[in-house]
């Protein structure tokens, strides 16, 4: 969680493609090293596609305004930044079990952490639901590709989602959620690996933050006039700190 948030900050503070593109590579590396089986890792692909779409759509929006080289570059870079944030988020989604994160959250933040975890689990659940329903409609002879197939997929997916959410809400309330009292079962302390994940990301985020406020390292390359953005090797090295989680031993516990 910390890694994703801080990685997101890194991406947010810069529009320099030479800093953004390595983040895609880092995300991919962390994902392949730490992936867990199941629908969660399939949702990484979904976020990857969403990231690429963000770049393309943002770039396409340039046609709404004056069409100049510097405008195109500006829009493309902004799209790239958005896409990068999505991909980092997708990596987080695919390699961690959000419910494990709930146990790491400080006590005061447990309820919001649980809400966040449930919200995060929607993406993989929806992916699984779409696959299941597509197959079911195929077995009824209903076409499942193209725009005309949309209602046959979307209606059951949405209804299943609503139904699930309703049952879940009932179940949580039936089991005393929100009754005001609260204690914790086996809270997890921050072990070295958790620190090893969060600290380098913290350093990277801090450096990028400071660099962006001080105008250091060409984080916001101007696009008017258009020029080739500079790369500061020091900043790039700091960014590389985000790759650390990829080298940590795979989390043995399937639920982490």
């Amino acid at each position: 969680m910390a890694w994703a948030t801080l990685g997101g900050i890194v991406a947010f503070t810069t529009m320099n493609p030479f800093y953004l593109l390595p983040l895609w590579a880092i995300s991919w590396f962390v994902f392949t090293q730490q992936r867990v089986p199941g629908p969660a890792s399939r949702s990484f692909r979904m976020f990857l596609v969403a990231g690429l779409m963000a770049v393309l759509i943002r770039t396409a929006l340039v046609f709404l305004g004056p069409f100049t080289a510097s405008n195109v570059a500006y829009f493309a870079l902004e799209g790239l930044r958005l896409g990068t944030i999505l991909v980092i988020f997708g990596t987080f989604n695919a390699v961690t079990d959000p419910f494990g994160v709930v146990r790491l959250a400080p006590r005061r933040f447990q309820e919001p952490a649980l809400a966040a975890a449930l919200a995060l689990s929607i993406a993989p659940r929806t992916v699984a639901s779409v696959r299941r329903i597509r197959e079911a409609q195929q077995l009824r002879g209903i076409p499942t590709r193209g725009a005309r197939a949309l209602p046959a997929l979307a209606v059951p997916v949405l209804e299943a989602g609503m139904e699930e959410a309703h049952v879940l809400a009932e179940s949580m309330d039936s089991r005393g959620h929100g009754s005001g009292r609260r204690s914790r079962y086996r809270p997890q302390s921050w072990d070295p690996s958790a620190w090893a994940m969060a600290l380098p990301a913290l350093v990277a985020a801090a450096v990028f933050w400071i660099a962006s406020t001080r105008g250091f390292g060409d984080l916001q390359p101007g696009t008017n006039p258009l020029h080739w953005p500079a790369v500061n090797p020091l900043v790039l090295a700091v960014e590389a700190l985000l790759v650390v989680p990829g080298f940590l031993p795979r989390q043995g516990n399937a639920r982490r």
């Binding site: 146990r103 649980l114 009824r140 209903i142 089991r175």
Partner: protein
């Protein structure tokens, strides 16, 4: 407090109407369920069972809205004044679909969740989780993810999670509907332990009475929103429902009507049936699907896990095959392989000389029938199928086949689970695929819907089609199937007539076999031989 001192659940003159509906779901219901009772709630689909169960912890009306008149006291507390979360320490509720009620991801975490909400002391919580793992016999699942569990395991985890916070009243909506006979026995045994050894009150709804009637000590019967409470015998008599032995008792005029296999045995000794009529000959229609030497492996983190091993059989025209076996035996995998959506790792599946085309050669009704319904009327679902396949024909004919012509203009969402299953089956049937597969068509299926389903399968088979359904319901298999295929660990372990396969099993024997011996399958068959 008045006369409700020792009642776990006391319902007084309750009339409840859901929002935006005219007819009340519950009409003037007055029922007391005493502490320590093991109570069964029964009745046809849509008669008010689920609504009644959900009043017990205040989900009705706090979550549903609607018009609520009367009074419900649970453990002495008024449910109108207390929302579900404030009754969580007194009453636990396990919904029909246990899987979607899970909040977290790990078994232990899920069990602890309710206690965390109630602020139970961590040391006590640790002990309590252990106790629950032992009580429901699920200690070996403690570190598993909930997503990897079988249906029976999930149900027991859901019960453990509901009970952990220490409520003395447990309410369950069809806890065995998705379980194999062994899993159902485990759950019922665990529930009985709670009642007998721990003095808890258990209230459950169930359609498959043969699974529960022998365990419970009181019953509440629902018909059109009205309730009658009494002994299981009285209520079964009033509603004219019951397990196969009761149906037989009514057909041949036994008095009192037997409730259990044991009751029926005593009566049967006085009046044994004549010799069995000749066994029907094997069906030798044309092969529709040929499965030859099929292996299927699922990948889990790059590690292949075998799901089917060397499966060979042929589904012929005119056959209705029941596919049985434990949760996780490979039934769904086999159906998906036969339908052409899953490639076998080894071996071949052939339908009409080529690999089966999904939806054309083979159609399948999924385990969750609502996952294929997307139109705003029942008849619209049939039209959608016909349009997609460019087929003519009248849409209502398919509804008539499943006995649901009267639902044609209703919205699928308003229907009960059993009715939705019939609608989905009609939509599948309309593909006119020669082979129709159904994956566990049992959830929420009341006896009437079951009869409609069996009628459709027979018509389809007589017209030269073939059908196969995966089921845990031995009585459905005994009544409908011409052949039983039994899977265990991905392999076929039995393949033969229902009389041979079911007569030979301790777990899968239907009630008539248990009373009269191998070969007797349905009450109709026995009653015929007694006449």
């Amino acid at each position: 407090m008045t006369t409700t001192d020792n009642a776990a659940l006391s319902v007084r003159q309750l009339t409840f109407t859901y929002p935006e509906t005219e007819r009340p779901a519950l009409i003037d219901v007055s029922v007391d369920i005493p502490e320590g009772a093991f109570a069964l709630v029964l009745g046809a689909t849509g008669a008010g069972k689920s609504t009644f169960l959900r009043t017990a912890n205040g989900l009705v009306p706090h979550f549903t809205g609607g018009t609520f008149a009367g009074r419900v006291l649970v453990a002495g507390r008024d449910t109108l004044a207390n929302p579900p979360r404030r009754l969580a320490d007194a009453v636990a509720f396990v919904p029909q679909d246990a899987a979607s009620s899970f909040v977290l991801d790990g078994v232990e975490d899920e069990i602890a969740y309710g206690m965390e909400n109630l602020g139970v002391d961590p040391a006590h919580m640790r002990r309590r989780v252990e106790e629950m793992l032992d009580l429901l016999d699920i200690a070996d699942l403690r570190n598993r993810s909930l997503r990897q569990l079988s249906g029976g395991e999930r149900q027991r985890v859901a019960i453990a999670a509901a009970l952990a916070a220490g409520p003395r009243i447990l309410v369950l909506d069809e806890p065995t509907s998705q379980l194999d006979p062994q899993g159902a026995e485990h759950v019922m045994a665990a529930l009985q332990r709670l009642v007998h050894d721990h003095g808890m009150t258990v209230i459950l709804a169930e359609h498959r009475l043969e699974r529960v009637i022998g365990w419970v000590d009181m019953a509440v019967g629902f018909a059109d929103g009205r309730a009658t409470a009494g002994t299981p015998r009285e209520v079964i008599h009033d509603l004219a429902v019951g397990p196969p032995v009761s149906r037989l008792g009514r057909m041949v005029g036994w008095n009192p009507v037997p409730l259990t296999v044991r009751d029926a045995r005593t009566l049967a000794r006085l009046r044994p049936p004549h010799a069995m009529s000749a066994v029907t000959s094997a069906i030798t229609g044309a092969p529709l699907v040929e499965v030859h030497g099929v292996d299927v492996q699922h990948e889990e983190l790059g590690v292949p896990r075998p799901a089917l091993r060397d499966v060979t059989f042929t589904l012929r025209a005119g056959e209705i095959v029941a596919l049985m076996g434990r949760n996780g035996a490979g039934k769904t995998t086999l159906l998906r392989t036969m339908s052409g959506v899953l490639e076998p790792t080894r071996g071949s599946v052939v339908a009409g000389g080529h690999p089966p085309v999904p939806g054309l050669d083979v159609a399948l009704c999924p385990q969750e029938p609502e996952s294929i319904l997307f139109n705003d009327s029942v008849v619209g679902e049939i039209r959608a199928t016909l349009r997609a396949r460019n087929l003519g024909g009248t849409d209502t004919a398919w509804l008539e086949r499943l006995g649901i012509a009267d639902l044609a203009s209703r919205h699928p969402r308003e229907l009960s689970a059993g009715q939705r299953l019939l609608v989905a089956t009609a939509a599948i049937a309309a593909t006119q695929a020669p082979v129709i597969l159904l994956d566990e068509p049992t959830r929420g299926l009341d006896p009437e819907s079951k009869a409609h389903l069996i009628g459709y399968l027979r018509t389809h088979a007589v017209e030269g089609g073939g059908a196969m359904f995966a089921t845990h319901d031995v009585e459905l298999a005994a009544a409908a199937a011409t052949r039983i295929l039994m899977l265990a660990g991905g392999e076929i372990i039995a393949d033969g007539t229902p009389a041979d396969v079911l007569g030979d099993s301790h777990v899968f024997a239907p009630q008539m076999t248990r009373v009269f011996g191998p070969g007797w399958l349905t009450p109709e068959q026995v009653a015929g031989a007694m006449a």
